[in-house]
Amino acid sequence: MSTSGTYSEYAQPLWKRVLLTRESAVIALTIVVVLYSLATVPNFDGPLTLKFLLQDIAPILLISLPMTLIIITGEIDLSVASIVGLSSVLLGVLHDNGLSLPLAALIALLLGAACGALNGFLVAYLGLPSLAVTIGTLALFRGVAVGLLGTKAVTEFTPRWVDLATGTIGSTNIPLVMIPFVVLAVGFSLLLHFSTSGRGIYDIGLNNEAAHFTGVPVARTKFILFVLSGVVSAFAGIYYTLRFGSARGDNATGMELQVIAAVLLGGVSIFGGRGRIHGVLAGVVLIGVISSALRLERITVNVTNIIIGLLLVASVIATPLIAWAAGKLPRKAPQSEEPAPPKQAAPAGV
C-alpha cells in the first residue's frame, strides 16, 4: 500500500518511511546474510563467488522485472520459463539453419513478444483469468519448444557471441549481462515508480474497476505488460542459451516458480497493488546468496529448498501475524488513522 493505498504514512518522518518498509527489511536481511556468509562460509569470499552468483541469478533478475509489474496489477504470468525454452530452441534452430546470431536473436525476441501478446490478449481483452491462461500457455510453449527439437540440442554457436554471455566487464568479476539488466531495471523502475502509467499499474491492482473509471487504460496496460514479459523472457532465453552454449527445449524448466518466489519474497502482494522493484531485486539476490552459501557448505539441495521454502512461508505469515500481535497491544499516541480502504485488508490476509 506504500504508493497509493493510504496517506497516513506521510504523517511519519521521511527516514521512518524509507527504513521501516518491507523492502528495507528484505535488503537488510540480504546484507546480514551476505556478511554472515563472508565471515563463516568457506570460500564464499573467493573471487569467483560474485561472478557465479550473478550469472546464476541473471535470468531470474531479468524476468522478475516485468513479473513484478504484472503481479502488482493483480495478474500473474506462469509461462515465462516456457518462453525462455521456446526462444532458446528458436534461436538454436534458426542459427543452425544458417541465420546470423543477431538476426536469430531478433526473431527470438519477436517470438517472445508474440507469446506475450497471446497471453495479454486473452487476459486483457477477453478478460480471462491470467492464472488459467498462463498455465495453458506454460504447457503450450514448452510443448512446442520440446516438439521442435525433441531430445536434440543445438550446441554450435559463434564463440564471440558466447563470450558476450559468459564474459565479465573488464577485469572485474561482474558478468556483462549485468549491463542490459541494469538498463532494464532502471527502465522498469522509472515506469513503475516515476510515471503516470506506474500509478495506473498500482491502481489496477488495488481496484480494477475503479482504475478503469478513473481513466486508467486497464486493458492496454495489462496487454503491454504481458508483451514486455514475453520480450524480457525471450531475452533471458537468449542469454541462457549462449551462456550454456546449448539450445534445448527443456532449458530453464521450472524457472517461473523461482521468479515468482523471489518477487513475493521481495514484498509484492500476490493480490496486487503493492510492491517495489528494489525489494524484488533484493529478494532475488537473497535467494541466490542463500543457495550459493549453502552449496559451499555442502548442504544438499533438498535442505536448501526447505530453508528457502520456510523463509518464503515465514515472510508471508510474519507480517499479518505480528501486525495482529501489535494490534493487541495498547496503542501509544494514536496517529491520524484513516478508515482502511477495502483493499487494504488484503496484505493482512496474505
Partner: protein, 347 residues
Amino acid sequence: MRIHSSRATALAALALSVSLLSACGGEDTGGDSGDGDSGGGDIALTMLPKNLGNPYFDTSTNGAEEAADEVGATIEEVGPETGDDPAGQVPFINTVAQQGADGLIVSANDPEAICDAIAEARDAGVKVVTFDSDTNPDCRDLFINQATPEGIAAKQLELISEQIGGSGEIAILSAAANATNQNAWIEMMEAELKSNSAYKDIELVDIVYGDDQDQKSFDQTEALLQNHPDLKGIISPTTVGIAAAARYLSESEFKGKVKLTGLGTPNEMRPYVEDGTVEAFALWNPADLGYLAVQATTALVNGDITGEEGETFDAGRLGEFEVSADGVVLLGEPFVFDEKNIEEFDF
C-alpha cells in the same frame, strides 16, 4: 494501520534474520568439519551424478566411496534433485571451482551445457572426470566409459547364442526406430551374425520397435511370438523393452521356451530371473564404474597420469587400466547378471 504494519515488517525481518541465522548456524558445524577433512592433506573429490536419489547413481557412489577409502580421499556427493534442466549441474560445478577441490567426477546431463563451468573448474586446478555420460571430449580430462558399442553388441549375441544352443530364429525388440545408440548396436549385431562362424545357424528374422514404452513393447513382444512360431530367442537392448518382454513371457506359454536377453537393470529384472523367464542379461556394474572413476581421478590428481593416450594406472581391485584415444578409459566388457549374482545388486 501504517505504523503497526511498519513496525510489524521490521519485527518480521528480525524474526526472519534470527530463523535464518539459526538455520545457517546449525549447518555451520558440518561445514567446518568438512573443511577440516579436506585440509588434512587428503584428496578432496566431489561426485556429481545426473540427479540425486537415483538407485543407479547411488550404486555408483557406493563404489566411489569404496575407492575413496582405499586411496585416502574424501568424497562428497552433490547434485540437482532432478535431471530436468540441462544446466542444473552448473551451480554445483561452480561450487567445486570456488572450493578448489582436487577432483570432480560428473555424469553430464548435457554434453555441452556444462562445458564452460567445467573449464572454469579446470582453470581453478580441479581435475574433471566424466563417467556414465560424457561431455564433449575437449571439456574434461578423462571419460570413464562403461561399455563400448562393440562390447555391448558382442555380449548380447554371446548370451542369446548360449541360451538357444547356437541355432534357431531370433528377433530384436528395440526402442525407437531412430534411436542412434540402438541402431548402432543392431548394425553391429547384424554384421557379427554374418561374419562370425559361431553364429552361422542363428537367423535374425525380425526387428520391432517398442519406442521405450512399456505397453507398446509388451504388444510388440506378443506380435513377434505370433508372427514367428519358431522363434527361439529375443534380444532387447533397452531396459524398458526387456522388462516388458519379460513380463509378457512370464505370463505366457512361451515362458522358459523362448529365451530373452538384452540390457536390463537388476531391480526390474529380478522377478523374471527368479521365476526362470530370463537366464541372464547384461549391463555394466555402476559400482565398478564409480570405483574406477575415483581411481582414475586420484591418478590424475597425484600426477601419475595426465590423460594422454597410452598412459596406464593402477585401479585397485579392478587391476590396471590404459587411457585410450580422446582420454577414454573403458571399464570393460558388459557385466552379466544371472540368478547367482543378481541378489548383490540394488539399482
